[in-house]
Amino acid sequence: MDPRIEEVDRSGAGGPSPDYEVALVSLNQWQLAWRRFKKHRLALIGACIFLGMVALAVFGPFFLPYDPTFVPPPDSLFCPGSTTQLAYSGCPPLTPGHLLGTTGSLRLDLLTLVVNGARVSLIIGLGASIFSAIIGTIVGGVAGYFGGLLDNVLMRIVDIMLSIPILFVIIICAEVFGNGDWKVILIVFAIFGWQGIARLVRSLFLTLRTEVFVDAARAVGVSDIRIIFRHILPNAISPIIVSTTLSVAGVIIGEAFVSFIGYGVNPSLTPTWGNELTAAQDFIAQGNWWWPLFPGLAIVLTVLGINFMGDGLRDALDPRSRE
């Protein structure tokens, strides 16, 4: 059904009780958004890719015969079924028993690495983005709602953090505090990733706080905190969701790079898509292209899916922002 017809129905329904109407409207907004999202073909493809990756990360390891940290004993000099390819340089894809081939040196199974790497890479991407969205919403909301000196101080802090190349700071903090622990890396990315959202939320709150419903809430004595989180925030949630979705992609790439250069997650503790690539560089010269290819391809696919999804969400949640 055309979404507009429903809106007409609702307004023409006469005088339902106020409670009922509020519930209906909020339900409808999400239904309308979902309807628009479904029409966005790229967004659906993106959501499928992303959810597929999540499913792979959650269930994949149970179906694979190898453990990601298990180093096979050196049973033969050459790859199975080959008399020229040295096992030390890694076996190419489609080798019996190794669909995506093996890495050089330790001869780990690449499929196992990619599937297990998905777990921590996705957890860091999602976790850090959600954490920084929460920090950014609180900071931006408080700054935008109260304004004045508090706003000025908070926004200058945001200015400062946006001026410093944040990747440099993340690398330093990951190296100093990290010890290769993925939980610390997640927190570091969360702490240094909230500035963009804080700015966005502040600008939304600056316009929303002058709305009549805010005055009404204040007039009946609702507390500031409640106005911020229960009255204004639901009206600002769409851009926050879109921006958080897109930032997952950025964090996944950032984590991969920090782990790749060796200051992020420790590869012998937890495989991630980034740290699986670290040693691959040394084997490229020996013709091993599949080792760097597959973990990176997993990153590209995931990030592509998230970007498709983010664009679809933007169109669905905020139709006015369409080109």
Partner: protein, 365 residues
Amino acid sequence: MLKYIVRRSLQAIPVLFGITVVCFMLMHLQPGNPADRFAQNPKITQAQISAFKHRWGLDEPLPVQYCMWLGVCGDKGVLNALPGGQANIAGVSIGLPGGDNGVIHGDFGFSIFDGQPVTTIIANRALPTIILALTAYAIWITIAFLAGVYAAVKRYGKFDSTLTIFNYVGYSLPTFWLGLMLIAFLSVPPLKIFPASGMWDARTVPIFGTGQYWAFVGANPLTALTDLARHLALPVLTLVLVSVAGDSRFIRSSMLDALNQDYVKTARAKGLSERRVVFRHALRNALLPVITNVGLEIPFLFSGAIATETIFSWPGMGRQFVESVGHNDYTVLMGILLITSVIVVFANLFADIMYAVVDPRVKYD
């Protein structure tokens, strides 16, 4: 106008100040302090260690140490620096209080790793970064501009759809992985076309930046230039592929905005040729946001090339940063961090002022 520029410049001062505070705090995240190196030495007494700490102000409270590091509270500061003046980049006193030491005098102290002045290290690494960044930038902004404008003019055409797909993919590529793949397929047999790493061929060309290098460049400029170009090829290609994606998208939407304006409709209604409408009316207005964006991108040429420089062992500032993290060489880290942040602040300032200059519609108050 002048008032706007002055006010905008004054606004940058607290940000610059805040950056130094953040850098100083980061420096103190590092475990230990410069006196720790004597802890294992049996010949050094406790009294000598405290004398050392006193000499360099390490026994002072943190705010005082910060003030000394900044260079406004006497000349014994700069954690880990040698006696006053030695690290001064300009080599002259510029009349600021606090002697010759300190960050505001251009003195970032000495590397903990190899004892060189931080300013010397950064100066050596700046030129390779500039060469790489500017070459890549010139190429990608040209491509992005042509592609973005053409896609906007022929909206929803074949080229536009292709560019959209390319942009999605390019935007999703991790720079460092793209570099790895280019090495794996273009600098390893069977397609061994370009060198995989470094900035010069050590067999034929002397070390970059030395006197011999410049003498070599003077003697056979063609050899030096081809060698440099061969080594530039892959890092530049990496940066271009990744950056064209974001920029052409931006230029396309800016051009579309301009094409939808009323004055374009007016121009068409007057019967002007399509070429004249596009180039004279739309393009000039589409350039406004592009100019500011260009200004904002320049600092990220310095920090953004970090992944590319790491993958291709390009001896620039990004690679120096990654190496210094490994050495815990925090004086160098802070120097690089501080300099890149200051460049960002000035580029933002420059972009804002440029925008006000080129667009007469911007109000200055």
